[in-house]
Amino acid sequence: MTAALGLLGLLGFVGILELVPRIGLVDPRFLPPFSEMVAALGGEVGTPEFWAALGSTVRGWAIGLAIAVAAGVVLGMVIGSIPLLRAATTSTIEFLRPIPSVALIPLAVLLYGPSPQSTLLLVVYASFWQVLVQVLYGVQDVDPVARETARSYRFSAWTQVRRVTWPTTLPYVMTGFRLAAAVALILEITGELVIGSPGLGKQIAVAQSSGAVDTMYALVIVTGVFGVLVNLVARMLERRSLHWHPSVRGEVPR
Amino acid sequence: MTTPTTPPETPGTPAPILEVRGVQKIYQGKQRNVEAVRDLTFSIAAGEMTCIVGPSGAGKTTLLKCVAGLLDTTAGEIVLEGERVTGPPRGMAVVFQEYGRSLFPWLTVRQNVELPLKEKNLPKADRESLVDEALAAVGLADVHGAHPWQLSGGMQQRVAIARAVAYEPHVLLMDEPFAAVDAQTRGELEDLVRALWKRLGVTVLFVTHDIDEAVYLGQRVIVLSMSPTVVLADVAVDLPEQRDQLHTRSLPRFAELRAKVYELIQQSKRGVRPGSGDEHEQPGTAVAADTQSGSM
């Protein structure tokens, strides 16, 4: 039922995209009919450039996300588990976190030029905070009784982390992963678009400056589809990790 | 939202304020339909205190929601003060079982009680005095500015009762209002409801699955069968009007009535239903419990 409605919605949306330029509601030079976008996409798919660009985007996104998640988890667990460290770093984290990652664009360009590293810097910086903050929430959420119990049984520090802290934190890590995955994609494309590092974003900029509007839309659709896939997979992973976890949590203001 | 029907007035007996006639409710599900209520008919006189008991899942909440106009009936009709219920009627207030979820958490206690009155466009002075009175009546004169979640469960349910009382309804519906509070508080709240009922002359329809509570509170107890639900018995509670937790509950008559209703509930759980030969109770008249149970 829901699937049918959703399909109806998608079909309607595609229909509107097709009709609006055809009946002249919007200038087709600005918004070509959907069929032309599809045709342009068909043309793109046949070129090696497209696949190279897609590969660059996916690679940059995945590497950046992996670094951010690894760094966020490790630092989050360490900072979160040591109360003094946590207290001492809170203000710094609260300061650094809202700094918009795009502020680093000029620096990245200076340091690395239009290379994948520039974009990687942005991706890692932006997604790192998402993970770190969630992990810190997670460590804080560990049941004090469980912690006390572990201590009274004289678990080693490592065992405490593995048996007590980590299981509680895992769902938060997955939430952080989901948020970071979306943010990483945004910054990956942004870097490519603005800095000109290789990837779909750069191809979009190229298509725009060469007036290939239908190709531009086709590539935007590709980024959207990739974004949907990322969200779906991340949400599935998050749900799976929540499966055995009784507490009901979400991205809520705390 | 009610549409007028002809008031069935019979001289001599007090006109019923609420009539439930042949009500059936089938939940339309995705895979299957659930017939929660099959055929309910009873009527309630103005100013009466009626308790409805039935096993869990009997459809008590469903019935109450239909009466409150929150659910459409599949068949039959509900008539309140001569008008057919098609949506939440004006002169009716409901106290829900889930007290924690029926109060607006973003409003203070006072605002919670006042909001429905604002909606009635009452002048400010009237609102103020109604709210003050209602909160004082439930013993919460000093927590106006608190938010509901800052209060204990029993206090939250008092706020819900105060809100209902301040609304000045003709009919007050209560759906297992005390199921989730501790025994001590429960006794106090039961006495509170009886006191308010006497003072305000409001008609109360009180749903519970607690037999003691039903007998202690009610002038009559309607026992429902298992789902799909029909009325199994209508027991008149002939206890003295002046009731209190200690004495009333130790009266021999209380124990008898309690046993009677208990037996009926047990039958209900075993799936006993009024036989086809059983005639339906006359609306508004309580069939003596002895004859009813004797026939089963």
């Binding site: 203000s91 531009m216 | 939440p88």
Partner: protein, 261 residues
């Protein structure tokens, strides 16, 4: 609170930032590296660059565009979100389309909207609106859908009309979730403010910073990065201020719930 504990807390709050800034100061004090000028130079450049007419010429226009776009996105997102969240059928029809729009990385909207709206203020505001809209919209839908059934019934049976249901029940009840969306939208909005100016503009913070970078005015560029950081921090702080007032009830509610559980 004792003097000792206040002192301790102050130490913990300002300690690390002071250490970091000091380290930066001394590490770069004698720096001759072109990319890493001394912090002293950067701060001088900051005062010279931004405490002049640039505040009016660049900073204010950027912030105004952000504010207009953000507010428009909030109004649109909440309005549409309430409508969509209230109807199961409508939700079913539009949800996949909305998910798609949400998943599009917002910066790609810049080249598209340049086609429609040129490179003026309208384009930048439009970019901000169309990027900020989706998180607000989808979270509002989620919030409206998650409204408590009992609370809905309560509102109905106490005769709350459509308008009071909207203000007293729907918007208030969905507000915690709306705040989640609004917060995501704010960081996206700042990104888009900068990006849209880096792409094509004649004024604005993003435009100026890129100019500095292209002309190798390195201390000025650093001062621009610091300015953007300060803008981000200030806006996040303001957001938290508003949120903590508007959602004080929600924090209390959750704290009591967590206390019980």
């Amino acid at each position: 609170m004792s003097v000792g504990s206040v002192a301790r807390r102050t130490m913990l709050t300002v300690g690390l930032p002071v250490v970091l800034v000091t380290a930066w100061w001394f590490a770069t004090a004698n720096s001759t590296n072109f990319f890493w000028p001394p912090l002293r130079e950067i701060l001088e450049a900051f005062a010279d660059t931004w405490f002049s007419n640039r505040i009016m010429a660049d900073v204010v226009p950027s912030l105004v565009r952000l504010l207009v776009g953000y507010v428009l996105a909030l109004v649109l997102g909440i309005g549409l979100g309430v409508a969509i969240g209230s109807s199961r059928t409508l939700r079913g029809v539009v949800e996949p389309v909305l998910e798609f729009f949400r998943a599009i990385p917002p910066p790609v909207l810049v080249p598209i909207l340049i086609l429609f709206a040129g490179i003026g203020n309208e384009m930048k505001v439009l970019v901000i609106v169309s990027g900020c809209l989706w998180p607000v919209l989808l979270n509002t839908v989620e919030g409206v859908r998650g409204l408590d059934e009992v609370l809905r019934d309560t509102a109905r049976c106490y005769g709350l009309g459509r308008r009071s249901q909207l203000t007293h029940l729907v918007l208030r009840g969905a507000s915690p979730q709306i705040a989640v969306g609004a917060r995501q939208a704010l960081s996206i909005g700042i990104i888009l403010m900068v990006i849209s100016e880096m792409f094509a503009a004649s004024n604005g913070v993003g435009f100026t910073i890129i100019q500095f970078q292209r002309t190798f005015a390195i201390p000025e560029m650093w001062s621009g990065i610091i300015l953007l950081g300060l803008i981000g921090i200030t806006l996040a702080f303001l957001f938290r201020l508003v949120e903590s007032r508007a959602l004080a009830w929600y924090r209390g509610l959750r704290m009591t719930q967590r206390g019980e559980g």
